[in-house]
């Protein structure tokens, strides 16, 4: 997924969304997410934090997480990802820890990238669902 690596490099804001066992979502801004060997590596600073807990339970019970990447040019992209493994010790963990103290490094498997830029999505949805609009928006003299 080479485009994901490029998108991560260009992202000015990255948001990670997870959910708990009751389905309650939790979204936070995350920095320093990288893409290596086909996997997303997500450093997590807070061991007792909600994101870490949600990722643990997502690994246990087969739930997915979502990433939203906002780029400097105003475009945005969403990535669904499945937690595969957490590093709490070992060479990879220590590599991240040396850069900044972390509690864990998560390996997530990305499952496709979808552009979420508003104009692009509106165009896609209009093509797929031409009935889903208000009539005044296509009346003579309407401003687009």
């Amino acid at each position: 997924m080479p485009e994901l690596e490029e998108l991560l490099r260009g992202a000015v804001v990255t948001i990670l969304a997870t959910s708990d066992d009751s389905g309650t979502p939790h979204a936070v801004r995350k920095a320093h997410i990288t893409y290596e060997d086909g996997k997303l590596l997500v450093p997590e600073r807070l061991e007792s934090g909600k994101t870490n807990s949600n990722l643990v339970h997502s690994l246990w019970f087969g739930r997915k997480a979502a990433l939203l990447l906002l780029l400097g040019d105003g475009t945005s992209f969403a990535v669904q990802a499945t937690p595969l493994r957490v590093h709490i010790t070992g060479p990879l963990f220590e590599r991240f820890y040396r850069q900044a103290p972390v509690a864990a490094v998560w390996e997530l498997a990305p499952e496709g990238v979808r552009e979420e830029t508003a104009a692009v999505r509106a165009k896609e949805e209009a093509a797929a669902h031409p009935l889903l609009l208000h009539l005044d928006s296509i009346a003579k003299g309407a401003t687009a």
Binding site: E47, F61, R85, I88, T89, G90, E94, Y97
Partner: protein
């Protein structure tokens, strides 16, 4: 309870971590390594154990233990005579766990810490001074339990047998300076360690019983504390149930942050049978009272008690049914939890050299229900178990559920 399989229990307890269930089963059934799995072991990288204590006996290196994908530690080892162990084999060049020939999960061998290749100024290899878990330094400063002096050690415990087996190559007590130097060296490795555990056998001597044990721990903790800028450091002492004056000394004179005194079995009658030394020197009710007193010294969430879950079913004097054993254990655990003392479970392993080496361990479902029951009590009483969690200890399926 009927003997349900791990797969059946995953369906029956969908809210319990499948990793914790696997771990409990691996601990009760033990593991074995195939030659292909052992070929993946690199003693230069991995933390290994040799058959025999002496480093010169390098005839067979086996991994110390395993890590799972969720960061859980599985403290499991090969035990001769276990009929149906999980098999650790190689799959695509990596260790993997198999059950009955079927793939179960990926596994990872523990990594050797940097200090393992160093020696203290006295010339002692540091790996012999302090052993490591993935994130914990394990200090065992005293390798004999004096409850065995009159043969009254705990019946599930093999410390006396191990001591006599290795006493010609492993000393009774560690030198505090060796310990301090090893800790100072170990914590140079960034991110490698998050906790220090001290535990050893009970030392009954002293003006007040166990004063000698307390004094030994204070000496060692003070020496360890020299390595830290902060007055307190993440640490756990698993020791005898000390009286208030002894607990106050530990708290006030050292950087110790948490305290554990293992009741082992949560029923007075079974305790008296299984842990006769603890019963003789302190007694069940007094042990419990001292645990609660320790909460006043160390605080809620900083005191707990370990049990050897399943040992209450040992025969001929244990409970006759798993249902009764579970009910009694969780009821008693609740009485402790409501007073601020958490209970954590170690899966009973019928250790060679222990009195109970020929006993049969309970069903996996017993351990699943026990783990869930203990964690539910922590939630009910708002008890934090950071001190003994998956990372700082890793030997309790119940505290794995606290994540």
């Amino acid at each position: 309870m009927s003997e349900r399989t791990r797969k059946e229990l995953l369906l029956q307890y969908p809210g319990v971590s499948p990793f914790a269930i696997l771990k409990a089963d691996m601990q009760r059934r033990a593991i074995t390594y195939t030659p292909a799995a052992l070929a993946l072991v690199d003693p230069a990288i991995h933390q290994v154990e040799y058959v025999g204590y002496n480093i010169d006996k390098k005839d067979l290196a086996i991994p110390c233990s395993l890590l799972l994908r969720d960061g859980s530690t599985v403290m499991a080892a090969p035990f001769p005579g276990k009929a149906n162990p999980y098999v650790i084999d190689a799959l695509d060049g990596k260790p993997a766990i198999f059950d009955g020939g079927e793939y179960v999960e990926a596994a990872e061998y523990w990594y050797k810490p940097a200090y393992y290749s160093k020696t203290t100024s006295s010339g002692k290899p540091m790996w012999q001074v302090i052993s490591a878990r993935p994130q914990r330094l394990d200090v065992n400063p005293y390798n004999f339990c004096h409850f065995w002096d009159n043969g009254k050690g705990c019946k599930f415990c093999a410390i006396a047998a191990n001591y006599h087996k290795h006493k010609h190559e492993k000393e009774l007590a560690l030198d505090p300076r060796d310990i301090a130097e090893t800790v100072a060296e170990a914590i140079k490795q960034p991110g490698r360690f998050a906790n220090i555990l001290l535990t050893g056998g009970s030392i009954t001597r002293g003006e007040t019983p166990f004063d000698a044990e307390v004094e030994n721990y204070i000496t060692i903790l003070k020496a360890i504390g020299e390595a830290f800028a902060a007055p307190r450091f993440p640490s756990q002492l698993i020791a005898t149930a000390f009286n208030e004056a002894q607990l106050e000394r530990l708290r006030n004179e050292t950087g110790l942050m948490s305290y554990t005194a293992d009741l082992e079995v949560l029923n007075e009658e079974k305790f008296n049978w299984i842990c006769p030394g603890k019963a003789e020197w302190i007694g069940y009710k007094e042990w419990k009272r001292r645990l609660v007193a320790a909460v006043g010294v160390f605080g809620r969430g900083y005191v707990n008690s370990g049990i050897v879950g399943g040992v209450e079913l040992a025969q001929p004097h244990g409970f006759a049914s798993e249902a009764e054993a579970l009910d009694v254990t969780l009821t008693e655990a609740e009485s402790l939890a409501e007073q601020g003392v958490s209970v954590v479970n170690c899966v009973w392993n019928t250790l060679p050299g222990s009195v109970f080496h020929n006993q049969t361990v309970p069903s996996l479902e017993y351990y699943v229900r026990l783990a869930k029951g203990l964690q539910d009590l922590r939630v009910k009483y708002n008890l934090n178990i950071d001190m003994d969690n998956y990372r700082r200890c890793g030997n309790h399926p119940d505290s794995d559920l606290a994540r």
